[in-house]
């Protein structure tokens, strides 16, 4: 039904902007699109005001391709760089108060479940390290303890990028940043460990070095959140401005950090694993049936 809201009224086709027509005719809605098909379909982001060479932008762009059902997804963000691009995507986006994402998402997801018992609505929080580990910490942790069924994605640039480069809880110890004139005095917060303690059903840590992996991780996280429980994806998305990474070297930095301390890691509960296997099996059976009917025809 939500696709109806995109549909162009008859007679207006030739008056709509090309970008919009593309979105309707070649968008990612109502079908599976793969990262390897980029360029052959219209992505949900047309343009954005992010800095040149921003790794976070790359991550978000690819992550949105991974959404299993963009036409029934609501994204929530908070203050920070991420929302500058998220708010430009053709996916409903809630830009709430400071650090309120996981509180709002809890109420939103429950409300949508009450109103649409027969249509899954995916809720995805995508916010920065400051928004989730500092100001939004309590809401994040409690949404996990309550086993709220939505995905939390941390865009971890290890700094308050949007406000001009202040230390965050996710900054590494010793880093000299604004508000840490002598260098940060405590360790990077272990949000992965906290997610584990809180019983998050699927936890992933990654750097934006492998686009297919980004999309796959997001897809898994969103699917598991539907049925099993909260999921958490923590992505290294460097700030090339505040960390003075030369634009052409952004991906080199991502690979170096990945090798050093941000290697790909997945923690998946048995229940989540079984659920994923089940839906993969169902998908295969369905594909087989379709292939069979084609042969018959």
């Amino acid at each position: 039904m939500s696709l109806e809201t995109l549909r162009i009224s008859p007679g207006f086709e030739s008056y709509m902007p090309k970008e919009y027509v593309d979105l309707v005719e070649r968008g990612p809605y109502g079908r599976d699109v793969k990262v390897s098909e980029m360029g052959t379909f219209k992505e949900v982001i047309e343009e954005h005001p992010m800095c040149a060479g921003c790794a976070m932008t790359l991550f978000i762009r690819v992550a949105l391709i991974g959404l299993p059902c963009p036409e029934h997804t609501v994204i929530l963000g908070t203050a920070g760089c991420g929302r500058l691009v998220l708010s430009q995507a053709s996916i409903p986006f809630i830009y709430g108060n400071y650090g309120d994402t996981n509180g709002v998402a809890s109420g939103l997801k429950r409300g949508l479940e009450l109103r649409f018992p027969n249509q899954t609505k995916d809720v995805v929080v995508m916010a920065g390290d400051g928004g989730l580990s500092d100001i939004g910490f309590s809401c994040v942790m409690h949404s996990w303890f309550r086993k709220e069924k939505f995905t939390t994605v941390m865009l971890d640039n290890e700094v308050y990028g949007n406000t001009g480069g202040q230390e965050s809880g996710m900054t590494n110890k010793g880093m000299v940043l604004k508000m840490a004139p002598f260098g940060k005095k405590f360790e990077k917060m272990d949000m992965i460990g906290l997610a584990k303690t809180a019983g998050v059903a699927y936890i992933a840590r990654l750097a934006p070095t492998n686009p297919t992996r980004i999309a796959n991780v997001i897809r898994k996280a969103v699917l598991i959140a539907r049925e099993v429980g909260p999921t958490y994806v923590q992505a290294y998305t460097s700030c090339n401005i505040e960390y003075a990474i030369p634009t052409p070297k952004v991906m080199d930095d991502a690979r170096a950090v990945e090798k050093d301390r941000y290697g790909f890691m997945e923690i998946i509960s048995d229940e989540a694993k079984a659920y994923l296997e089940r839906i993969e099996q169902e998908k295969k059976t369905k594909a087989k049936a379709v292939a069979g009917s084609t042969v018959e025809a």
Partner: protein
């Protein structure tokens, strides 16, 4: 020994008997909830037969929520509010609500309620004093998000030194948030106002959150007569597509509050957008007036209109004032009383009208700063020659003896032992 343990009466550190029991068995009572039928608001408010009961304010609120067709309630304990939201929890266990949980703290709760409202369901929460202050960042964003929902506020002390006693200074912070604010006088109001608040909140031309405030303990923990309609009827459900802004449910194009957030641009168009949005919130408040008149019998109630001495009050101060008016009447003096039901929108015109003949207006309040006196002075500025006396005021848990009000009625504050200075602001 084991036998003895079985019969032991457990008490909490204060010595109160612990009454926690197992959750009621849903099946037994579910039928009652399922058998409720939807009626028109007009029938529920004005036509349904009513039975007189003697219950606390918290119980009155519970009975309102039972009939309010609420989808989700999110609770967080704080005295003196806890009683109400745990009663709502029992309603959930009995099947009257579809979802309910205890949130992390008020910031998280107010955020979650916002999410639920944006999903299109009828949402409820309640708080008190410090909890209201903790949730205030979120609460002040509700009107801008144009979120219909209900917040019950059981007023108590907010300032240090910490106290849990009745005091309604917190309402002064709520008044400029854009939230519609009603102030219940007694248990009956605390039954009627929440039901009416939902209907007003969800009107298309209003589409705003409503707070129903009440003075903690005096009303929440004391019994009063409440006339209740039958419990097998309830309000119509929320119809979210009839409201002013689209839901965030992917079934329609969302309001692009986010894409067009003024924070993202520094130019005149963005300033203009934010400015007009704020004006629209207050215009929507004005558009609530006809509905407040229709459902609540007006923004004010006036007793003895035309009297030369008028009392203007809201909340429990009204009850005390009623008694003072009665006592003055016994002496042969006619004293007028304006009960303000709606603090936002504020009944400026009604107040001007009611105080047209007044030579003296006194404003009794349960708080230190005298926010109501400021409201009254501001509304009547240039409209009356009456002396406006800011007081009497009690706070920090004190009760307001009618003798105190009578003293103010017959003396100016600077006479005799009454040394309360007029407002300095």
């Amino acid at each position: 020994m084991a036998e003895g343990l079985d019969t032991e009466v457990k008490t909490n550190p204060q010595g109160d008997v612990i009454t926690a029991t197992e959750a009621p068995k849903a099946k037994e009572k579910e039928n009652k909830a399922a058998k409720q039928r939807v009626v028109t608001p007009e029938y529920l408010f004005f036509e349904a037969p009513r039975t007189k009961t003697f219950i606390t304010g918290s119980e009155a609120a519970k009975e309102a929520i039972r009939r309010a067709n609420v989808d989700i309630a999110i609770s967080y304990p704080i005295t003196p509010q806890s009683e109400t939201m745990q009663q709502v929890g029992y309603l959930y266990a009995e099947g009257y609500l579809k979802d309910y949980y205890r949130g992390e703290e008020e910031y998280g709760v107010m955020s979650a309620i916002a999410g639920a409202s944006r999903a299109g369901v009828r949402a409820l929460t309640a708080t008190a004093g410090p909890g209201l202050m903790r949730g205030m960042e979120v609460i002040t964003s509700w009107p801008g998000g144009r979120m219909p929902l209900l917040l019950l506020v059981m007023c108590r002390v907010i300032n240090a030194p910490l106290a849990i006693q009745p005091d309604n200074v917190e309402l002064s912070y709520l008044l400029n948030s854009g939230v519609i604010v009603f102030h219940a006088e007694n248990q009956q109001d605390f039954f009627d106002f929440p039901l009416k608040a939902y209907m007003i909140s969800e009107k298309c031309e209003v589409t705003l959150p409503v707070a129903v405030a009440v003075d903690g303990f005096f009303v929440t923990h004391a019994r009063g007569w409440v006339e209740l309609p039958p419990e097998d009827i309830k309000l119509p459900p929320r119809e979210c597509y009839h409201e002013a802004v689209p839901m965030m449910d992917n079934e329609n194009p969302p309001a692009r509050l986010s894409r067009d957030a003024p924070i993202q641009k520094s130019n005149f168009i963005s300033y203009q957008m934010h400015a007009s949005w704020q004006q629209e919130i207050w215009a929507a408040q004005d558009r609530a007036r006809p509905w407040i008149k229709k459902y609540m019998g007006g923004l004010v109630e006036v007793v003895n209109p035309g009297a030369e001495t008028m009392i203007v009050a809201s909340g429990s101060a009204v009850s005390q004032s009623r008694e003072a008016v009665r006592q003055a009447g016994e002496k042969g003096d006619t004293i007028g009383l304006v009960k303000i039901r709606s603090l936002r929108p504020f009944p400026t015109q009604e107040l001007i009208e009611a105080c047209r003949h007044a030579k003296r207006i006194i404003v009794p309040e349960f708080n230190c700063i005298g926010w109501m006196a400021k409201e009254v002075r501001s509304a009547l500025y240039g409209q009356t020659k009456a002396e406006i006396v800011p007081g009497p005021r009690v706070f920090g848990g004190m009760s307001m003896p009618t003798e105190l009000i009578l003293e103010y009625l017959y003396k100016t504050p600077n006479e005799g032992r009454m040394t309360t200075k007029p407002l300095t602001v």
